[in-house]
């Protein structure tokens, strides 16, 4: 693997390999001295064209624990408005001698385009509404730690599917790992053409959260932006919560110990009630530590020259 732009870039074997490496990295996190020498002398640039605290910090710490030199470049504000093309912006940064480019951009496809212009290994840290592959990997990795294999397990993904890159990466990753997936959203927050897509990719769609929850082995809630009301996607936050929120009452519909995921940041009281976010079965904080392990594994596989020798 030269870049990580989409889950589609990974074979199922490679996903399992990344999980194995991530498990090793996870162990490292509990050591007193967390630093590994694997990427000494390598330079990783986090290029974020969009605000992000958790993903940027996660990549930054992951790189540092692998001894890479990590530089953060905040490129917020579209390059168009500055009169510079995206190509010029990334070529300028890469001309400084960059081995890995971690890119977050508000436009779908930006990471794919950038990978065609630069020599560095490109990691997509979220491109518009398209993909967020490390999020999907960390979600599946977290779920596996709870459920064992995902083969045949039923995962419900609930929320603003239309605008979600987390959904688009997760649907590929989870179905690849053999999970049965049902996605739930009001019709206005389903991606266009989802009927044909779900038929081709083999997942289910539903408008009825209450009929889906009792059968789920895992629940993944997606963030809903309050301002979506302005696009007439739904009438009010209140109505959204009543129709599609993981409320206290709905917690009771779940089988015991069903893990609850959320990629964050959470809108408590909108898509997820505090009772659910803080429930014993919530894995929201564990997702964060898994995220570090997964991002270490990704950087390691992309940048550590010879990856066959393991990480010892």
């Amino acid at each position: 693997m030269k870049h990580l732009l989409s889950i589609d870039d990974l074979s199922t074997d490679e996903i399992h390999q990344l999980f194995e490496t991530a498990a090793d990295m996870h162990d490292v996190q509990s050591r007193e001295v967390k630093k590994l020498p694997a990427l000494r002398g390598r330079t990783v640039v986090n290029m974020f064209f969009e605000d992000s605290t958790r993903t940027r910090s996660s990549f930054e710490i992951a790189g540092k624990w692998l001894s890479a030199d990590v530089i953060n470049v905040s490129a917020k504000g579209s390059s168009t408005s500055k009169g510079e093309s995206l190509r010029d912006t990334v070529l300028t940064v890469c001309a400084m001698g960059v081995d890995g480019l971690v890119i977050r951009h508000p436009a779908s496809g930006a990471a794919v385009q950038v990978s065609q212009w630069v020599d560095a290994a490109v990691v997509n840290a979220g491109d518009g509404m398209h993909e967020h592959p490390t999020q999907a990997l960390l979600d599946a990795y977290t779920l596996q730690r709870h459920l064992g294999s995902l083969e045949g397990r039923h995962v419900a993904i609930i929320g603003d599917l239309a605008h979600s890159r987390v959904f688009r990466s997760n649907i590929q990753c989870l179905t690849r790992l053999g999970a049965r997936v049902t996605v739930v959203a009001p019709p206005t927050l389903m991606p266009s053409g989802i009927g044909a897509w779900s038929a081709a990719a083999g997942f289910e769609t539903s408008y009825d959260i209450d009929s889906v929850l009792p059968d789920a082995d895992a629940v993944m809630m997606l963030r809903v932006q309050r301002e979506r009301m302005s696009g007439a996607f739904f009438p009010s936050p209140r109505e959204y919560t009543v129709g599609y929120g993981l409320t206290r009452n709905r917690l009771a519909l779940l089988k015991p110990d069903v893990p609850i995921c959320h990629p964050g940041p959470m809108n408590r009281g909108l898509e997820i009630a505090a009772d659910a976010a803080d429930a014993a079965q919530s894995v929201v904080l564990e997702q964060v530590s898994s995220g570090l392990a997964i991002r270490m594994a990704v950087l390691y596989h992309l940048l550590a020259g010879d990856t066959r020798g393991g990480i010892a």
Binding site: S85, A107, S108, H130, A162, S192, I194, G231
Partner: protein
């Protein structure tokens, strides 16, 4: 300079020589001392007429100028182009229209006919000075806010009414801006759902086409639907044309671009902004409907929507990149490739005669017979061309046809008796 065009097959049928006198008019007999143009094995068509070209001058002379756009047009077999009004400044006054017309005359390679804006500054609110543009030396007859839809129904109604006074026509970019977000950049469908790109549904075009044909009927005026891109619009047009024919008091005409006849939305998979265009590339079902509509006359004309852009305006993320693609040098080849069974008579109808009539260009699209101005294109019907974007006369390189093989080849173009293209190169 008088000419003898030797051995051309007129509209692919009878073969005979064409004679052009010093005044650039087709005549009965070979003028003395005429230059010979070898047209053996070539098909002669009346010079092509493009209802929809972006020449970018004034304002973006780094992307195209009236001269380079005219050169590209001549290489494509064109003898007339309608230059869209979305320049900077906008062509919304008589002075601006006259300037474009004059620069076209100076270039002298094709007739450059300015299109006037419908509304001041393309803002969609107040009418531009339609009558003054018409009375200017440019004699503007076609008005369009192309790039933007005249969305306000009241403004569209008034524009349609107003141009009746001088036989004008309103060419509409049919796209309801409220049916898609401002970031919309591709066809809304399964692929846009997967790619996470904000899209326009076909219905955003269709509701405006439906509204405008009713407004044209109500006002007894002429509406022209620019770059039709969906099967649904074709359905509306088919119905509307039958009504208009029955009533005899109003008219609706329509154009389709070469790219909507051959390219589909699948090309967006790699997020290459070369394929970002407005209206967007659609699925194959729409392409099939557009081809059938062009053949049966529901769509009247092929118009290129030639839209040059400087390279840096395309090297952005897909949603941020500029809309549009080159098309005027390749249009005939694309039409021949998309519709290999279309007769040469029909090619002349949809690419010359009918667009000339819609635009009110009396000198263009005329039959190749004595008395007609000598606007002629000579085409090798059996050749094919592999498109090289770097070989283009256009200043821009946003060419979706690069590397593709297209049927037939423009060999010579004659504009008003002057050879503008000889053996596939600018004369």
């Amino acid at each position: 300079m008088s000419l003898v065009i030797k051995g051309a097959s007129l509209l692919g049928e009878q073969t005979r020589d064409l004679y052009v006198d010093d005044a650039g008019v087709l005549v009965d007999e070979a003028p003395a001392g005429a230059e010979t143009v070898d047209a053996d094995g070539l098909v002669a068509l009346p010079g092509l007429v493009d209802l929809h070209t972006h020449l970018r001058e004034p304002g973006r002379e780094d992307a195209e100028t009236i001269l380079t756009g005219s050169q590209a047009a001549a290489l494509g077999g064109y003898t007339a182009v309608l230059a869209m009004a979305n320049t900077s400044p906008v062509t919304d006054t008589a002075e601006a229209a006259t300037r474009v017309w004059e620069l076209g005359r100076e270039a002298g390679l094709v007739h450059v006919q300015p299109v006037g804006a419908v509304t001041r500054g393309l803002a969609g609110e107040e009418l531009a000075e339609l009558g003054l543009m018409h009375r200017s030396r440019a004699a503007v007859k076609v008005f369009s806010d192309d790039g933007k839809c005249v969305h306000d129904a009241r403004v569209m109604r008034r524009a349609l009414e107003y141009v009746k006074a001088f036989g004008g026509v309103v060419s509409q970019h049919s796209q309801d801006p409220t049916l898609a977000g401002p970031a919309a950049c591709c066809h809304e469908g399964e692929l846009s759902g997967r790619l996470g790109l904000p899209g326009w549904p076909g219905i955003a075009e269709e509701v405006i086409v439906a509204r405008d044909v009713m407004l044209a009927r109500h006002t007894g005026s002429r509406v022209h639907v620019a770059h039709v891109s969906t099967a649904g619009s074709v359905d509306v047009l088919r119905w509307a044309k039958a009504q208009a024919q029955r009533d005899g008091t109003w008219e609706v005409t329509a154009e389709v671009t070469p790219h909507h006849l051959l390219l589909t939305t699948d090309l967006l998979t790699g997020y290459d902004p070369t394929y970002k265009v407005n209206p967007p590339l659609r699925p194959q079902e729409d392409v099939d409907a557009l081809r059938a509509a062009l053949v049966d006359g529901t769509i009247d004309a092929v118009a290129t929507d030639h839209a040059p852009h400087a390279r840096h305006d395309k090297e952005h993320a897909f949603v941020d990149a500029a809309f549009g693609m080159l098309g005027i040098e390749t249009a005939l080849g694309v039409v021949r490739t998309a519709l290999p069974d279309l007769s040469w008579t029909d090619v002349a109808r949809v690419m010359s005669t009918t667009p000339a009539r819609i635009a009110g260009l009396a000198e263009q699209g005329r039959p190749l017979e004595p008395g007609s101005p000598a606007h002629v294109v000579l085409v090798d019907p059996t050749a094919s061309v592999t498109v090289d974007r770097d070989a283009s006369a256009s200043l821009s390189r946003n060419n979706p046809w690069h590397g593709r093989s297209l049927s037939s080849r423009v060999v010579h173009t004659v504009y008003a008796g002057r050879v503008t293209v000889r053996d596939g190169a600018l004369a």
